[in-house]
């Protein structure tokens, strides 16, 4: 987590715009994130939190600035980056009749990594099973994903993103559908992953269990970074509250 390491994510004066939009949503953002850091991104609705996650994994077009992730240029090597970066999307809604079960969805996390024209192997299936065990959804393996509750679907998507053994994990409000107990063990799992060197970036307002090491808080407002501080876990709640307060007063 120290600055003599090479950052895994390095954004320099980044602007990101949606197709057809007149103004960029992300404006002049610079951010260096180091291996194993646990980063919480906060800020009001529409601040650009989702947009910055999708800038990091190259799903959105960077109009200005330089972005490097895992040593690769985001604009030209986006696909190679995404094979090694997990992403749990914020908004999902699945057709109740969609012909996929939980086991397939979790395994799907590894498809990019496996690559085209190659079959899924035993290792892939084992990793998917382990991920389901971690999320305690192995009993849902053969259930159609469309017929599960929002929280169960959320757990399947989190399992999917960890099945690929990501070096960076991006989570966009992953707790919004989860019950208290689940929020706790997912938070613990994320802390454990960070301790093993995975960089965790999580957009969230509520934390029920934080890892026992320093946490970096990045607050966003109107497409810019308004605060970027590292603090101890017991300061996090106050910090997050003060961000929301500052923004409301602004």
């Amino acid at each position: 987590m120290s600055s003599h390491q090479k950052p895994v994510i390095s954004l320099k004066n980044i602007y990101t715009a949606y197709e057809g939009a007149e103004y960029p949503v992300i404006r002049d953002v610079s951010l260096d994130i180091f291996p194993g850091e646990f980063v919480i991104i906060g800020g009001p609705n529409g601040a650009g939190k989702t947009t910055i996650l999708e800038t990091i994994n190259g799903l959105l077009k960077i109009t200005h600035g330089e972005a490097e992730v895992l040593g690769m240029n985001v604009s030209s090597k986006g696909n190679n980056i995404r094979k090694r970066v997990g992403y749990v999307i914020q908004n999902f809604a699945f057709d109740p009749m969609t012909p996929f079960n939980v086991g397939e969805i979790v395994l799907m996390g590894r498809y990019g990594l496996i690559g085209p024209l190659k079959k899924t192997g035993e290792k892939d299936i084992n990793r998917a099973l382990e991920a389901m065990k971690v999320l305690k959804i192995e009993n849902l393996k053969d259930m159609p994903i469309g017929k599960l509750s929002g929280g169960q679907q959320q757990k399947a998507l989190i399992a999917q993103s960890i099945a690929k053994d990501p070096e960076i994990l991006l989570l966009d409000e992953p707790f919004s559908n989860l019950d208290l107990l689940t929020r706790e063990f997912v938070s613990e799992m994320l802390g454990e992953m960070a301790r093993k060197g995975c960089t965790i970036i999580i957009v969230s307002h509520a934390f029920d269990a934080l890892p026992d090491f320093d946490i970096r808080i990045v607050a966003m407002n109107e497409g810019r970074i308004s605060l970027d501080e590292t603090c101890s876990p017991d300061e996090v709640e106050n910090k997050i509250r003060s961000i929301s307060g500052e923004i409301q007063n602004a």
Binding site: E19, G20, N57, L59, N79, N80, I81, R82, K83, R84, Y87, I89, F92, F94, M97, T98, P99, F100, N101, E104, I105, M108, G109, R110, Y111, G112, L113, I114, P116, L117, K119, T120, M143, P144, K147, L157, Q160, K164
Partner: protein, 277 residues
């Protein structure tokens, strides 16, 4: 190819053509319907239709013209949407109207000029006057469709589940997407003479929609949809020729009937208290 089964040459060729056209269209139809790009399939079918009409009018190979028009529209949808800042659906509506107008314009004009016979084949299909090469091409596109789905099954299934999640997982979504559109363009253009521009959509959508009613996995849909389409098309061709009925419209009605029956019988719509879900 099936001469050993059916001795009458015309009937044999008609059955072969219907079988191969239905296999490729229904396999690709699973992707088209599940990936929610029915309107793209629809528009491409009509672009092929317009291309064929132009080709026929200009005296160039109408199948090649159909392929060209269909591919062109597939390639234009994305960029035109970006340029005009309109939703894909509106763009497709515009393209659809335009291709339909072009096709009907040329067909009507050809009828006026006395070139009417071959032009109606474009509208409603014709299984009787086929070239051997057309049947080989249809067999070829069926094989290509099957191989494509087999080779890229993982990627296709992820894309169908959720495009954003597929892309985030590192699947090369764009090349795959354009690959799918290109194969659809080929299948649609080659099936045009047999099934007709007005009915192509039935083969692209209805067998997959019927399979969806009772398939719990994507894999089974890729088997059930062509099984339905192939069986019904062969029966349709035999029945149509035996009783001198228009083959493609008859078969289209039969496929639609299968869809209605499968929807009524669909286990997915039933509530079962004995099973755990």
């Amino acid at each position: 190819m099936l001469e050993f089964l059916i001795s009458n040459n015309i009937v044999c060729h008609a059955v072969e053509a219907m079988l191969f056209a239905s296999l490729s269209c229904s396999i690709l139809g699973v992707i088209v319907t599940q990936f929610n790009v029915s309107s793209i399939g629809f528009t491409m079918a009509h672009a092929a239709f317009a291309g064929a009409a132009i080709g026929m009018f200009a005296g160039i190979n109408s199948t090649l013209a159909a392929i060209a028009a269909s591919v062109l529209v597939a390639l234009l949808i994305g960029p035109v949407g970006e340029y005009s800042k309109m939703s894909t659906d509106s763009i497709l509506g515009v393209f659809f109207g335009m291709t339909m107008a072009i096709a009907i314009f040329f067909i009507a004009y050809m009828q006026y000029l006395g070139m009417g016979m071959s032009a109606t084949a474009l509208l409603f299909g014709d299984v009787v006057s086929l070239y051997r090469e057309e049947i080989y091409a249809l067999a070829g596109i069926s094989v290509i469709s099957i191989i494509f789905v087999y080779l890229f099954y993982k990627e296709i299934s992820a894309l169908i589940f959720n495009r954003k999640i597929a892309e985030a997982s590192g699947i090369p979504v764009k090349p795959l997407y354009y690959g799918i559109l290109f194969i659809i363009a080929l299948a649609v253009a080659l099936s045009l003479n047999i099934i007709g521009g007005l009915l192509l959509f039935v083969w692209l959508v209805t067998p997959a929609a019927a399979a969806y009613q009772f398939c719990h996995s994507l894999k089974s849909m890729f088997i059930v949809a062509p099984a339905i389409a192939g069986t019904v098309s062969v029966i349709g061709a035999l029945a149509g020729l035996a009783w001198s009925l228009p083959v493609a419209p008859l078969t289209a009605i039969m496929i639609t009937s299968v869809f209605v029956v499968s929807m009524i019988l669909s286990p997915k719509r039933k509530i079962s208290y004995r099973k755990p879900y």
